[in-house]
Symmetry: C2
Subunit: 383 residues, 2 copies
């Protein structure tokens, strides 16, 4: 289903030879209209890849007719030549598809600091354009994989309209978006303002709260394109909820496929004075390497949760903190609570609840355990 | 040498049975004067262990006559009972040694959330008092080890006076001090104000810039005690430098013995607009799990350095950043620099220089690589 679930879109995914192993590495998504409305959210890393700098400019126009995505190289920290390469990619797609290059977004993922093999990439754009089709969404989702073990797609259907999308991302998942490339499409007949507010609201509580390893990418890109092909203009709230649901689903898929992980950890902060406090505390817990190791070892080490909470500026009193792990309140009032032997940690999902006892605000951050496999995946070769 | 290198101090280290494996776990350090001047620096974690809360109060008086230290239990997150236990420990030492309990500092390290076996600990204080001696510093240093593979001591001699000390710490090394217990002693005849300013200046650029795994302890304690027994009052700057040198040496020993580490990484930030910027950037690089994995794999992955710099608020322009790894400027002006194949990473020490090209301030943060052994040490059992 992916990006071609919604009417008005065609897509393709091919092997252009950017990856040395011959796997698919180039995807093309085209909006055939009648609308070309688009919204985008990008990495908040100040070191931004060339395609991010380019696509940010494209999105300012509010119209996107096509997106070229490649894996096999991030085109980040590649200087003026890297930016020229991104520009040339957009120009090539525009020429082949008879579009305006200023409406062609580009996204890249892979190793930082290496120039892309432009001969292969530009030839690949021609090939991908020739293979565009209304069922090409799956192939596009496969072509953007890097260390992903599975491709990720999601769809939500409204009353006569649809929101669908694809995502890649497995490591470097972090704040201000994770290392992810995401393209969402809809055939709802909505304007850029509606798209933008729906996308920003959705990413704030989904992708932005997926924090696998605390590392922020140079290339994160989330695009939402609307074709208007359904000729239906949904209720704004209903549309926003569909976008949120697709983002949430894709975010969960990212966590479940995170590099080397053996546990998916839901860190739910409750009783916070403000949502900001809840997010700060959730991130601090989610990024604590010692806790992530303990969870890997199926050790309900609530002391490491308290230690992580204690590093934040959130409103709380240390002797009022409560922590539950998989439903057992192992810490009550800042001290020993129920018997930690009661905690069953055999399953992949681990649920930590941190109660700050300081208010009514909540937030949930998703993370993974820290494993020897994570170390291996990120030390055995450059990525 | 350790805490008994300076005149006027006796110490001991014994196995009180707090650790189930029978290893030494209780240390006693006594200042026999004539002075009892003292300064202390404690964890900035808001979740503070009982002994930290107690010792902070003791230090407010500016006099410390003895320090009781135990491994085998952190006495953190143990509520009012935990605080009573710390109090009882100080009272016991005071009774046995004929001191004022309000001048007895206590420090603990080990698992969070477990009450100490007070019968064993109090009996141990009696045994330790009976074994106090002017050469007991080594045994004291051994008794405070947890996952440390070696005990850590250091000494600097001035003109007629000495500064010496001991430290423990191997994981949870982080900001606002690492998980460390450190006791420094001197026979210099200096007042509390001199001790305090020397200690704060020293820890700010030594222990506080040792950041092995980004996790902040509930128990960090660094004490500096002066006996005045040398009857020499050193030049303030000379004394401060000796304290700094001992702290620096102990900090280096902590990094070299960090849990599971195979590389010691010196992150030197230069060209920063301010020292604060340099420290922020240094910490961001030092905490980047992906980079720490790459270093483990002897991969000079400078893209991960730039990615870490980009998450900070420091003054810099992305296209002016330079990065050297082991002397090779692999990144110049935000892009590809010298050939990364030239970087020799076979040795334990790795030196990363990040040049922000924004000023003249510098800072150095020490960290370690992220290894499967770290994961194992922190997941295989509770600690």
């Amino acid at each position: 289903m992916s990006v071609t679930a919604a009417k008005g879109f065609t897509a393709s995914g091919i092997a252009a030879g950017i990856k040395e192993n011959g796997n698919p590495d180039l995807a093309l998504v085209v909006n055939n209209g009648p609308r070309l409305a688009a919204a985008g959210v990008f990495t908040s890393n100040r070191v931004k890849a060339a395609p991010v700098l380019w696509s940010e400019q494209v999105l300012k126009g509010g119209q996107v007719s096509a997106v070229v995505l490649n894996s096999g190289g991030a085109n980040a920290c590649t200087g003026p030549k890297g930016f020229q390469d991104t520009h040339a990619t957009a120009e090539k797609a525009a020429a082949v598809l008879d579009l305006d290059a200023g409406e062609v977004a580009v996204a890249s993922t892979g190793l930082i600091g290496v120039l892309l093999p432009m001969d292969k990439l530009l030839a690949g754009v021609e090939t991908a354009a020739a293979q565009l089709g209304p069922h090409g969404g799956e192939k596009a989702a496969i072509a953007i994989k890097t260390t992903d073990t599975v491709h990720k797609t999601s769809v939500r259907a409204g009353d006569g309209w649809t929101v669908g999308g694809m995502a890649k991302g497995a490591g470097m998942l972090a704040p201000g978006l994770a290392t992810m490339l995401v393209v969402l499409t809809t055939d709802a007949d909505v304007d850029t303002g509606t798209l933008d507010s729906a996308l920003r609201a959705a990413t704030r509580t989904t992708f932005d709260r997926v924090d696998s390893d605390g590392c922020m990418s140079t290339n994160d890109t989330v695009l939402l394109l609307a074709s208007g092909a359904s000729e239906v203009t949904p209720d704004r709230a209903e549309f926003a909820e569909a976008v949120r649901a697709v983002c949430d689903d894709l975010g969960q898929q990212l966590i479940r496929d995170a590099e080397g992980a053996s546990k998916d950890i839901k860190v739910e902060v409750v009783g916070a004075a403000t949502e900001e406090d809840a997010v700060e505390v959730g991130r601090s817990i989610a990024r604590n390497n010692l806790l992530k190791c303990a969870i890997h070892g199926e050790d309900p080490n609530w002391g490491r949760v308290l230690s992580a909470i204690g590093t934040t500026g959130a409103a709380f009193e240390p002797d009022q903190l409560n922590v539950a792990i998989n439903g057992v309140w192992v810490c009550k009032n800042g001290g020993v609570g129920e018997d930690r032997e009661l905690v069953d940690m055999r399953y992949r999902e681990v649920h930590i609840v941190a109660d700050l006892a300081a208010g009514a605000a909540t937030a949930t951050i998703w993370t993974n355990d820290l494993t020897a496999d994570y170390v291996h995946e990120n030390s055995a070769y450059s990525s």
